[in-house]
Symmetry: none
Subunit: 207 residues, 4 copies
Amino acid sequence: MQSRTPAPRATGRPRSAAANAAILAATRAALVELGWSKLTLGDVATRAGVAKTTLYRRWAGKNELVVDAVAELFDELELPDRGTLAADIEGVVLQFAAILARPEAKSGLMAVVAESTRDDLLRERIRASIVERQKRLVLEGRARAQLRGELPLEPDPGEAARTVDLIFDVVAGAVVHRTLVSAEPADEEWVRGFTRLLLLGLTGAAS
Amino acid sequence: MQSRTPAPRATGRPRSAAANAAILAATRAALVELGWSKLTLGDVATRAGVAKTTLYRRWAGKNELVVDAVAELFDELELPDRGTLAADIEGVVLQFAAILARPEAKSGLMAVVAESTRDDLLRERIRASIVERQKRLVLEGRARAQLRGELPLEPDPGEAARTVDLIFDVVAGAVVHRTLVSAEPADEEWVRGFTRLLLLGLTGAAS
Amino acid sequence: MQSRTPAPRATGRPRSAAANAAILAATRAALVELGWSKLTLGDVATRAGVAKTTLYRRWAGKNELVVDAVAELFDELELPDRGTLAADIEGVVLQFAAILARPEAKSGLMAVVAESTRDDLLRERIRASIVERQKRLVLEGRARAQLRGELPLEPDPGEAARTVDLIFDVVAGAVVHRTLVSAEPADEEWVRGFTRLLLLGLTGAAS
Amino acid sequence: MQSRTPAPRATGRPRSAAANAAILAATRAALVELGWSKLTLGDVATRAGVAKTTLYRRWAGKNELVVDAVAELFDELELPDRGTLAADIEGVVLQFAAILARPEAKSGLMAVVAESTRDDLLRERIRASIVERQKRLVLEGRARAQLRGELPLEPDPGEAARTVDLIFDVVAGAVVHRTLVSAEPADEEWVRGFTRLLLLGLTGAAS
DNA sequence: AGTTAACCGAGACGGTACGTCAGGTCTTTCC
DNA sequence: GGAAAGACCTGACGTACCGTCTCGGTTAACT
């Protein structure tokens, strides 16, 4: 997950494994307290009980570090079988909203996305470690709904991929916009309304 | 639109009106060339042919300045009558996508949203000068569709307002996410697919 | 005493006479509170109840203003007849020391002298309004001592002038150095010792 | 000689020794070219090939820096045995006058003295590194004169110290006043006249 | 009694320097 | 050879004053 992974050496003192986790945790703690723009690498190093040099040896800069620190947050998303597609969607959207409500996610995620508009490597890093990584949820949910007969099978694989992408953008985008731009909570009522809209859009039949 | 608007005086040298426009234009130019994080107020001042102090006399900081500079971009959104609701939506979404594709919008918008997660005044400023300001498009489109009979009248005003907010979050969120996070172009094909989903979700009937 | 005295006009509003005094008094007050380096012309203008422009219309800058403000302090030096040359010297030296002990003199005098090392006009202004102006004390004291027969008449006028200059430099220099550089008080005991030295140097006979 | 001397550490990169000398030399060069009031720490840093932060790490500000830079100038004063007290005095006074004629001394010395009237630490720094440091010359000269029998032994040590202080104030004060305030050269003729006055004052007998 | 020219206050303006802070790099000693 | 420590260079920060300017408005002397 680090940005700088030189060929493993046989000689010299090995890198402390504990340091990596400490640095990422310290980064999240600093995001909570200070937000992205006031977070400094020197401060993160101090919190992690590590020298600044160690930090630079493992990450190229603030952006890469924050992407890794934030990406871990989304790995806790799960999609247990809640019986119906509507319940599955509502469940995962609420989970996603809960993560986005946490200050370390809020503050960090949008900032690195902003930075990524001018940095191709950073954009790719975000796509790989956040976006593509979480599309599994859409795939899993769709497969399960198809098994239940709630969604038809899509014979064209290209069209299927496009639909996954569209759904992902709609879901993630709506929640992010609601939470961060409109600055209103994505609470149960809102999630119900959104799910109804989405489901209707997907199936053409009222939930 | 400035952040610092003391009670208008009768005395003293009046503020240069030309300076405001020059500064906002310079800000957008700097966003294009440098992006948000490398944009410096000193550089903006130089580009605008203005002293740094003049800039600080009118805006509290980088964030407020960028909000004003970016907000102007969205004022060019229009909603001409394209005959059907589907066409109206496709048209405005494409327009919105076109603006978001411009580097000064990309780079600036997400950054100030990120900052706004830790700054209530900034969040309010964004809401007032961007979000609420552009909800006019949703209102106008809905009214027109109702006249055409494409959408039913909504008797409950609270529910109507909630629907407007939901639609705005879904539309804006999806386009932003597609463009900036997924980093794929919101081209005609994608917009068609998205509009179909949205319209179906709103009406329950295929477009 | 102002630095800018344009040719007097016949028409137009005349300059406020009260303003000059108010400005010089405000300058001294600011010197007491802030010292030379933290004194700002804007602050002096405010204290004097005057616009900054008014101040710049009359003085070229901080240095010229301070010279004028400080010069007035030394005009209160007097040389009453105390009966003997020794008493006259002791008296005036104590008076001089008392003025130099005041913070507005301390802080301002050395600063303008320092500035005058790089500004010929300023040096000339200091000479004219402070140095030459106070040499009257030496001249008066010598004349009185010669009348009393305590000092011989000096037939050579060039030599007489050189002696006046020398005495002035020795007296003023010693008191200034004692007060400001050595930072010890020029109290009665010190003044007695200094006067003994000076008088012996002038006459070759113990006082 | 620096103002900030934290307890020496064992760890971390040590401070560059070369930088100190380069900074003080650059300070003197800037004093010559610009004078005290136009000297900026940024410029000094540039001249010394050093970052501004390095400079601030070692000195508290402009005043402390200039005191150190100027103090070094006076260390070149010497008192070789010239045979008689009169010759010794003339020699050292001429040397002192020569240093004071140099622009870096002129411009800097008076300015820091002026500042010291409002800053106790700065005054103490000046006393320690300039005044007390150079009193050695008076002590040495007196001791030598007493050996030669030109001056009587002073049995009372308190009185002896007072006399040293007085002589120092008279000599330094007179030369400084002649050079900077009266703005006349302290040339050989003036020094002869001054020495005659001083010697006569000390011994009561013509030189 | 009007005219008129210079004054006055207020405060914005283009600048320059300030002293601080963060980003990254380099140099030292220790492990 | 990694790691902690901290000095280093770079460059931007936001502030304070500088001295100038542009306003609206005032004031006294000269018509």
